[in-house]
């Protein structure tokens, strides 16, 4: 299995994602360039974090027009796995690969801190190895992470298991104190209907090494490995 990590101008977690896949998941990982139309035969695409195009206009709004996004949309349509992390989640929403969108944090400040997530759905290619209700700790670092969608969409996502992660407190409850950015219904990550495209604001690639405090991000990438065995 081969994983591609897209570099947009302003991506700054692309190198972290490449190293994460190589060092901790032990898969081949290649960089993909925003101006190209070539996915280099990758099986999985990571849209990494950062500030693509400076987040000017609106986070992810310009990146969706990058040449490589046409190929990624086609890959997703074929059922190819795509994960959008932080800015990558914003891009995926702007590109219509995922429902909803991400707005400025309700308190208007950037937030960098560890958060606790509860796994809400194991019916995605990135969570199939996780247990429903499991609590994962990993960092967030964003200014535009308030997940939003209209009430009907939210109800549909809840009903069809497309809410993948929720911000919760240490005991697993989705309290407002545990919500770092004002996301509706404490939603931290969602998937498309088929569970092949997942986006989340927290950074699983920063939670793979015990030296850095948490290895809870591993389960997302281990789920990919299960895909190769399937």
């Amino acid at each position: 299995m081969k994983v591609g990590v897209v570099t947009f101008p302003g991506s700054n977690c692309d190198e972290d994602a490449l190293l994460a896949i190589r060092e901790h998941v032990h898969l081949e990982a290649v960089p993909l360039w925003h101006k190209d139309h070539d996915l280099q035969g990758v099986d999985v695409v990571i849209l990494p974090g950062g500030f693509s195009y400076g987040d000017y206009l609106r986070a992810g709004a310009i990146a969706r027009f990058a040449p490589i996004m046409q190929e990624i949309a086609a890959h997703a349509k074929r059922g190819g796995p795509v994960i959008g992390i932080c800015n990558g989640f914003q891009i995926a929403c702007e590109a219509g690969l995922l429902p909803g969108g991400l707005l400025r944090n309700d308190h208007l400040q950037f937030r960098s801190m560890p958060v606790t997530l509860r796994v809400e759905s194991t019916a995605t290619v990135f969570t199939r190895e996780a247990s429903a209700g499991a609590l994962l700790t990993m960092p967030i670092a964003h200014g535009d992470g308030r997940y939003s969608a209209d009430a009907a969409t939210l109800d549909r996502l809840e009903g069809e298991g497309q809410v993948v992660f929720r911000y919760v407190d240490a005991t697993g409850h989705p309290t407002s104190a545990a919500n770092p950015n004002g996301s509706l219904r404490n939603i931290a990550g969602v998937s498309n209907a088929s569970g092949t495209v997942v986006g989340l604001m927290p950074h699983p690639e920063r939670a793979l090494d015990p030296l850095l405090g948490s290895t809870d991000g591993l389960v997302l990438f281990r789920s990919l490995l299960a895909l190769t065995k399937a």
């Binding site: 101008p9 700054n12 400076g54 400040q109 950037f110 960098s112 200014g143 950074h203 850095l212």
Partner: protein, 777 residues
């Protein structure tokens, strides 16, 4: 050399440019030059300068660029060690950390811009220091900030704090460099003159080190990155004068940052350096194109010629004067090997950036600027920067500082509430200087680049692992300006010693420093005295601790009509851990562990946060700093950590022993512990000195093997004693001393410590601040 590339020769002559102002004494004064300095310029040129030449010299001979008041004193600092690869004089200092790897690091001030425009002032400070590091060929891996503000009780200060923190965060977060450490202090002495010092740390392979030295006659000088606009003209001169209400009108001199372009420039520059197509690269920082080109020429001992019509501009009708002095951000000057210009342009184009050939390295020893065919400036020689005036100002200690230092602070009567030491402890934990800075840190991305082993607030210094090795580095900034004010020599020593101690508490060997010297107007004898003595003190400590100075920055004129800031020689220290797994944090982890105090308690209250915060008194001699003892203490803690005997280590600084213990209990609010202490061994000391005095050379350690730690301390000749035990959080904090008892719940202490700054800043959100930089209108 081909004929068409031969630059216009000097015989063409320099003539005033039509439309440029005539040189008058008033114009000279407006450029910040004295008539003596102007006379020196005329003698150098053997004629009247043009307006463009006057502008160039006003920038190059500004304090910011020339160090004309500070250089002789700075030369006394130690700069050598076997591991120093690059000392002062380059964009950044560089030390080897073994395995063919090196660390480039530098600290720089952006005080004046931040005083008038906190958001952009702080943001562009971050941008500038990043460029200084990546132009050495290093990839930035960590940012630090040392900030000083006035009292958080005033709306203006809350506005400055909010703006500076957002500016730092927005820039560093966007570029993707973790902001991992720093220090923040509050004191009315910084009212109106906040200090914003940014430090960047980068990693490189030793063989990729590149210097900003123009070389190779015929090589092309290329402007790279953002286009040049009219912003920031005379920023360097602005930073070289006192702040006044008029400075508000100089807001346009503050540049505007674009971190997105910076990120592209970072990637393009590193690619350029690794490509082998260039011989030198330098940031166009203070005094922009002028100082970058003049400094590169001087280092290479070559001449240069630059054509301002070739410089990519973002607005029309810019004069050579404006193009040369613009401080538009995110620009670089590159010297490319002749014939490789197209390759350079291709790399920049990949990152959607422009690169234009604007000049050439020439054999003739001259600094020449043309506007097309017309020569608008021409200076003989290649030492335009160092051939500046040098001053040896008078130095005399102020009577006020002497009076304050010699005041008998033991005679200051305790307040009634102090009968319960827990009241004093809680109050100190609420002091913004001591209180948790989590409100600030949570606005900085500290985990990007997946290297942060120990981030902001977790340990006495931040620890960043070095990928591909077992190593890590520890970084920290420090300086207690109050100590330096009360006794500059001792204060200078303490600044270095405390930074070294902090780095050592994480398990790292202190290796080298960069410094940012923030002082007032050097023409005042009392300010120059502070400067000279503080630098001597730093030198004492750097020699004793083997941490040479690899570079830094001098920021003078940090004063306004209300007076100067505390003399603040901020130290940025870098240390190395051979094994990242040894990284040690400051908080207690395990009930039952013994608490060991390394070092000795004393009867010293002078210059303490206790006196300042509880009594409103800045007086007394700062604590004694014995550098031999500091060295032995560092040896002890490093050996104990490497032997695996240390569970936590935290030095005693502002607030003294009681605050250090309280922080070790509840610094990590999610995992608090309690502690039970017995300090009866120090029955001869006044209780407040024992609990809140700031004696130097002390570290609080928690350990499962107290005997082993005591034995190591004994071998190093360091006093050490078991002073208590870590307990469960619900046991609270209990300190028994012969003179009294201090008991508190952990919850109360944590509330005081963690909620002080958020509570103050919550008020800022509701305030509209329209005051000017002077503080009043």
């Amino acid at each position: 050399m081909t004929a068409q590339r031969t630059p216009p020769s000097a015989s063409h002559g320099v003539r005033p440019r039509p439309g440029d102002p005539t040189i008058t004494p008033a114009l000279v004064a407006e450029h910040g030059l004295t008539m003596d300095e102007y006379g020196r310029l005329e003698r150098m040129l053997e004629r009247t300068p043009t307006f463009t030449e006057l502008g160039i010299i006003s920038a190059l001979w500004s304090e910011h660029c020339s160090y004309k008041h500070s250089r002789p004193v700075l030369k006394t600092l130690p700069t050598q060690a076997p591991w120093v690869l690059q000392g002062p004089g380059e964009n950044a200092g560089v030390i080897s950390i073994g395995d063919g790897l090196a660390i480039a690091f530098k600290i720089e001030s952006h005080n004046h811009p931040s005083a008038v425009e906190p958001y952009q002032g702080a943001a562009t400070g971050v941008g500038g220091i990043l460029r200084d590091v990546f132009t050495m060929g290093a990839r930035p891996i960590a940012m630090l900030n040392s900030l000083r503000f006035g009292s958080l009780e005033t709306p203006r200060v809350r506005y400055l704090v909010a703006g500076v923190v957002k500016g730092i965060g927005d820039y560093g977060n966007c570029v993707g460099i973790p902001t991992v450490a720093g220090d923040v202090m509050f004191d009315p002495a910084y009212e109106g003159n906040p200090l914003v010092n940014a430090m960047c740390v980068g990693l490189l392979r030793e063989e990729e080190l590149i210097r900003a030295k123009a070389e190779g006659v015929g090589n092309s000088i290329i402007a790279v990155g953002a286009r040049t606009g009219r912003d920031g003209i005379h920023g360097a001169s602005f930073a070289s004068e006192d702040l006044s209400e008029e400075n508000e009108a100089k807001r346009p001199r503050v540049q505007v940052g674009d971190p997105f372009t910076e990120k592209l420039l970072l990637e393009a520059s590193l690619e350029l350096i690794r490509s082998g197509h260039i011989v030198a690269i330098q940031d166009m920082g203070a005094a922009g194109l002028t100082s970058s080109s003049a400094e590169m020429a001087e280092r290479g001992d070559v001449g240069v010629t630059i054509d301002t019509t070739k410089v990519p501009v973002r607005e029309t009708g810019m004069t050579p004067y404006e193009i040369l002095l613009s401080e538009s951000q995110e620009r670089m000057l590159v010297v490319a090997t002749r014939g490789h210009e197209a390759e350079v342009q291709a790399i920049l184009a990949k990152w959607d950036l422009v690169a234009e050939v604007i000049g050439e390295v020439i054999a003739e020893p001259v600094y020449r600027v043309t506007e097309g065919d017309r020569i608008v400036a021409e200076f003989p020689g290649t030492r335009l920067v160092t051939d500046c005036p040098q001053y040896h100002p008078e130095a005399r200690e102020s009577e006020e500082a002497i009076a304050r230092r010699t005041r008998d602070v033991a005679a200051i009567a305790p307040k009634g509430e102090e009968a319960d030491p827990a009241w004093t402890l809680e109050r100190l934990l609420q002091s913004p200087t001591i209180a948790s800075k989590h409100w600030i840190h949570r606005q900085y991305d500290s985990t990007v680049r997946t290297g942060t082993v120990s981030g902001p607030g977790a340990g006495d210094a931040a620890v960043i692992r070095i990928r591909g090795t077992t190593k890590a580095i520890a970084v920290k900034t420090d300086c207690n300006g109050r100590y330096v004010y009360l006794d500059p020599r001792v204060g200078g020593r303490i600044a270095v010693a405390e930074a070294a101690r902090n780095v050592a508490c994480t398990g790292a060997t202190p290796r080298a420093i960069t410094n940012c010297l923030n002082f007032g107007n050097p023409k005042k004898p009392e300010v120059f005295f502070q400067f000279r003595e503080a630098v001597y003190g730093m030198g004492d400590a750097c020699r004793a601790l083997e941490t040479p100075v690899t570079g830094g920055n001098v920021s003078l004129y940090n004063e306004n009509p209300q007076g100067a800031v505390y003399p603040t020689p901020t130290i940025g220290m870098v240390g190395v851990l051979d094994d990242a797994a040894h990284a040690t944090r400051m908080t207690f982890t395990t009930p039952g562990d013994a608490i060991v105090l390394l070092g000795e308690n004393t009867d010293e209250l002078g210059g303490s946060e206790y006196l300042s915060w509880v009594h409103g008194v800045v007086a007394g001699a700062p604590p004694h700093c014995d550098l031999d003892r500091e060295r032995a203490l560092i040896g002890t803690i490093l050996e104990a950590i490497r032997a695996g005997q240390v569970r936590s280590a935290h030095d005693c600084s502002e607030g003294g022993l009681a605050v250090a213990i309280a922080e070790s209990c509840m610094g990590d609010r999610a995992r608090p512990t309690g502690a039970r202490l017995d300090l009866t061994a120090w029955g001869a000391l006044p209780l407040r000195a024992l609990l809140f005095g700031e004696a130097q050379g002390r570290i609080v350690v928690s350990t499962a093997h107290a005997e082993a730690v005591l034995a190591i301390a004994q071998r190093h000749g360091v006093p050490a004693r078991v002073i208590g035990q870590v307990t469960a959080a619900d046991q609270g904090l209990t300190i028994a001393a012969a003179q009294g008892r201090c008991t508190s719940t952990i919850d109360r202490l944590a509330t005081a410590y963690h909620e002080a700054i958020p509570r103050a800043m919550a008020r800022a959100a509701a305030e509209t601040v329209t005051e000017t930089a002077g503080g009043t209108r």
